[in-house]
C-alpha cells in the first residue's frame, strides 16, 4: 500500500469508527443499565436515516433532517423503554430472554413498517451542496462529506462523553450501571434514568443513521451490518463500558477499513474470530467489569 492509500484507509476507518461510537454508545449504555441487548437498535438506526430523508426532502434542508432524526428517534426510544420494556421487566425481573425477544420483535416490526412506508428499494439521501465537493490534504483527496461525517460524529461523541463523565446526570448513569439498587437507595430515579438512557442511545443511533446513510445509501435492512459492527465493538470493549465502546468502535472502524482493503474475502470472519478469542480470554471484554450476568 502506498502512503496515500494508507492515509485514505485510515481516515475512512476513523470516520466509520467515530460513527460506530455513536451507534455503540446506545447499545452499551442500555446493556450496562438494564442488562438488555437491544436487537431493535439497527432498526432505530435505519428509522433515523429515513426520518432524515423525509424531512430533508419535505423541507428541502439537510440540516433540519439531521436535527429532526435524533429528536424523533430519541422520543421513539424513550417511548419503547417507558411503555414496553419497563412493564415487561417489572413483570419478569428474572428473565434475560424476554427483553431480548421484545426488542427482536420490535426490530422486525420497525423494518416491516419502513418497507410499508418507504418501500424495500435502496434510495439515496443527497449530500448538502456545501459538502458535495472534495478536500485536498497534502497529496490525498477526500470527499468533503467524509470530513463532515467525521467531525460531526466526533463532536456528538464528545458531547456524550462530557455528559457521561462530567455531569451529575452522567454520574447517576455510571452509578446505576455499577449497581442500580444501590443507586436507587441513594435517591437516583433509576426508572426515569432508564428511559433517558434508552432515548439518548436511540437518538444517537438515529443521528448516525442520517450521517452514514447519506454517505452510503438507505434501505430497510441498512442497519444490520453497522449495528453488528457496533455490537462486536462493545463486546470487545466490554459490555456496559462506555470507554470500552469508544475504544472498541474506533478499533473496529480501522479493522473494517483496512480489512476490506487488504483481505476482502475474509476480514469479517476474522473479526468474529477476534471477538470469540477476546470473549474466551476475557469474558467481560477489554474494559468490562468483573460481573458476569
Amino acid at each position: 500500500m502506498s502512503l496515500e492509500a494508507i492515509l485514505t484507509q485510515l481516515l475512512m476507518g476513523l470516520t466509520v469508527g467515530v460513527n460506530l461510537v455513536l451507534v455503540a454508545t446506545g447499545l452499551t449504555l442500555v446493556f450496562g443499565m438494564m442488562g438488555v441487548i437491544n436487537f431493535a437498535h439497527s432498526a432505530l438506526f435505519m428509522l433515523g436515516a429515513y426520518v432524515g430523508l423525509v424531512v430533508t426532502r419535505g423541507l428541502g434542508d439537510f440540516w433540519l433532517g439531521l436535527t429532526a432524526a435524533p429528536v424523533a428517534i430519541g422520543a421513539l426510544g424513550a417511548g419503547v423503554e417507558r411503555f414496553l420494556l419497563r412493564p415487561l421487566r417489572e413483570r419478569y425481573p428474572e428473565s434475560h430472554l424476554l427483553p431480548l425477544l421484545l426488542t427482536f420483535g420490535l426490530g422486525l416490526f420497525f423494518e416491516g413498517a419502513a418497507k410499508m412506508l418507504w418501500g424495500a428499494d435502496v434510495v439515496s439521501l443527497a449530500r448538502p451542496p456545501a459538502l458535495s465537493g472534495a478536500l485536498t490534504l497534502g497529496r490525498v483527496t477526500f470527499p468533503a462529506y467524509w470530513i463532515f461525517a467525521l467531525v460531526a460524529a466526533a463532536a456528538l461523541a464528545a458531547l456524550v462523553w462530557l455528559l457521561v463523565e462530567r455531569t451529575s446526570l452522567g454520574l447517576s448513569i455510571r452509578a446505576a450501571t455499577q449497581d442500580a439498587t444501590m443507586a436507587a437507595v441513594l435517591g437516583v430515579n433509576v426508572g426515569r434514568l432508564n428511559t433517558i438512557v434508552f432515548g439518548l442511545g436511540a437518538g444517537l443511533a438515529g443521528a448516525a443513521g442520517v450521517i452514514l446513510g447519506t454517505m452510503t445509501s438507505l434501505s430497510p435492512q441498512m442497519g444490520g451490518g453497522v449495528v453488528l459492527d457496533a455490537f462486536i465493538a462493545i463486546v470487545i470493549g466490554g459490555l456496559g463500558s462506555f470507554t470500552g465502546a469508544i475504544v472498541g468502535a474506533l478499533l473496529l472502524g480501522q479493522v473494517q477499513s483496512f480489512g476490506v482493503a487488504l483481505l476482502p474475502e475474509f476480514h469479517t470472519p476474522l473479526v468474529f474470530l477476534v471477538m470469540a478469542v477476546v470473549l474466551v480470554l476475557r469474558p467481560t471484554g477489554l474494559f468490562g467489569a468483573g460481573d458476569r450476568r
Binding site: F31, G35, I37, F39, L84, P87, L88, Y92, S95, H96, L97, L98, L100, L101, L102, F104, G105, L106, G107, L108, F109, F110, E111, G112, A113, K115, M116, L228, I232, V235, L239, E265, F266, T268, P269, F272, L273, M275, A276, L279, V280, P283, R292, R293
Partner: protein, 310 residues
C-alpha cells in the same frame, strides 16, 4: 384414556394426510405441513437447551444452517444416499455445538446468547464469502433428490408425499428421543442446573459437562432439522444461518411454551401458517409478524400451551 385415543387419532391423521393430496387439497399444503414439521423439530431442539437446560441461545440458526449445508454438500457429492447427508448434517451441527459449548459453557444468560450469536454469524459470513464451496449469497441448489429402498419399500424423495413421511417419522423420532432424555436422570439434572447452578454443583452434578452435552444434543437435533430442510427445499442459502432465524426459532418456542417440547409444534403451526397466510394477503406481513411477536412477549410469555391449560 381419552387423551391417548385422541393422540392416536391425531397421529393417524398426520400419517394419512398425504393421501388427500390432489383429492382434498393441493401439494402446496403438504409442502407447508412438511415445513411446519421441520420447524417444529427445530423449535423442540432449541426448547431442549433453553427450556430444560436454561441455555439462552441466540445462535441456533448456526446449527440448523450448518446441518443444512452439510447435507446439501453431501447430496451434491453422492446423490444416491439419503442417510449419509442427514447423518453428516447432524454430526456437523453437533460438532459445532460441542465447539461452542467448549468456548461458552461458563458464560451465562446474555453472554451465552452473544457467544452463540457470534458463532452463528461467523458461519453466516463464511457461507457468504466462501463462494467456491457455498455458492455465496446466491445459495446452493441441491442435486437430484435421493431415492432409497427401505425394508422393501422405495422412498423416493422427489415425491412430496414421501418427503412428508420422512420428515414426520424423523421429527417424531427426534421428539421421542428428546422426551426420553428429558425424563431421564440426565434431564432431571439439567432442570436442577437451570434452577440453580450453585445448588446443582453442590449436590455433585458436573454442571459444565451436563450443559455441554445438552448443547450438543440440541445442536445435533437442529442439524437434523436443517438436513431435512435441505432435502425438502433442495436449496440452501446463507439466510439459514442468519440471526433472524435464530431469533425466530426462539420466538416460536416461546410462542408455544418453553419447557414443553410440543409447544414448538404449536408455535411452528402459528408462525409458519401465519406467515404464509399473511404473505399471500399483504406484502406488509413483516409488520404484522413483528407486532404479533411483541404482543406475545408482552402479554403471554408463558406460551400458548400453558395459556390453553389454564
Amino acid at each position: 384414556m381419552i387423551r391417548r385415543g385422541l393422540l392416536a387419532l391425531a397421529a393417524l391423521a398426520l400419517l394419512v394426510a398425504p393421501l388427500g393430496v390432489g383429492r382434498l387439497y393441493s401439494a402446496y399444503y403438504l409442502n407447508l405441513a412438511t415445513w411446519i414439521i421441520i420447524v417444529a423439530l427445530f423449535a423442540a431442539a432449541l426448547d431442549f437447551a433453553l427450556g430444560y437446560g436454561g441455555l439462552v441461545s441466540f445462535g441456533h440458526a448456526g446449527f440448523f444452517g450448518l446441518g443444512a449445508y452439510a447435507a446439501a454438500l453431501t447430496l451434491r457429492q453422492w446423490a444416491a444416499t439419503l442417510w449419509l447427508p442427514l447423518l453428516l448434517g447432524v454430526l456437523a451441527a453437533a460438532a459445532l455445538a460441542g465447539l461452542v459449548g467448549w468456548f461458552a459453557v461458563n458464560s451465562r444468560g446474555v453472554y451465552l446468547a452473544m457467544l452463540t450469536f457470534a458463532f452463528a454469524q461467523l458461519f453466516y459470513e463464511i457461507a457468504i464469502k466462501w463462494v467456491a464451496v457455498t455458492g455465496g449469497s446466491d445459495g446452493l441448489p441441491g442435486g437430484p433428490r435421493p431415492s432409497v429402498r427401505l425394508a422393501g419399500l422405495t422412498l423416493d424423495l422427489s415425491d412430496r408425499r414421501h418427503m412428508y413421511w420422512l420428515a414426520l417419522v424423523l421429527a417424531a423420532a427426534g421428539f421421542a428421543v428428546t422426551r426420553r432424555i428429558v425424563v431421564s436422570p440426565f434431564g432431571a439434572a439439567l432442570v436442577a442446573i437451570r434452577e440453580s447452578e450453585e445448588r446443582a454443583a453442590a449436590i455433585g452434578i458436573d454442571v459444565d459437562r451436563h450443559k455441554r452435552l445438552a448443547l450438543v444434543i440440541s445442536g445435533g437435533l437442529s442439524g437434523l432439522a436443517g438436513g431435512l430442510f435441505a432435502i425438502h427445499q433442495n436449496f440452501v442459502s446463507p439466510e439459514l444461518l442468519y440471526f433472524a432465524l435464530s431469533g425466530e426459532v426462539v420466538i416460536i418456542a416461546v410462542l408455544g411454551g418453553i419447557g414443553t417440547l410440543y409447544g414448538g409444534l404449536v408455535g411452528a403451526i402459528i408462525a409458519v401458517g401465519l406467515r404464509e397466510i399473511l404473505s399471500t394477503w399483504t406484502d406488509n406481513w413483516l409488520v404484522v409478524l413483528g407486532a404479533l411477536y411483541v404482543a406475545c412477549v408482552m402479554w403471554f410469555p408463558q406460551g400458548l400451551v400453558r395459556l390453553a391449560r389454564r
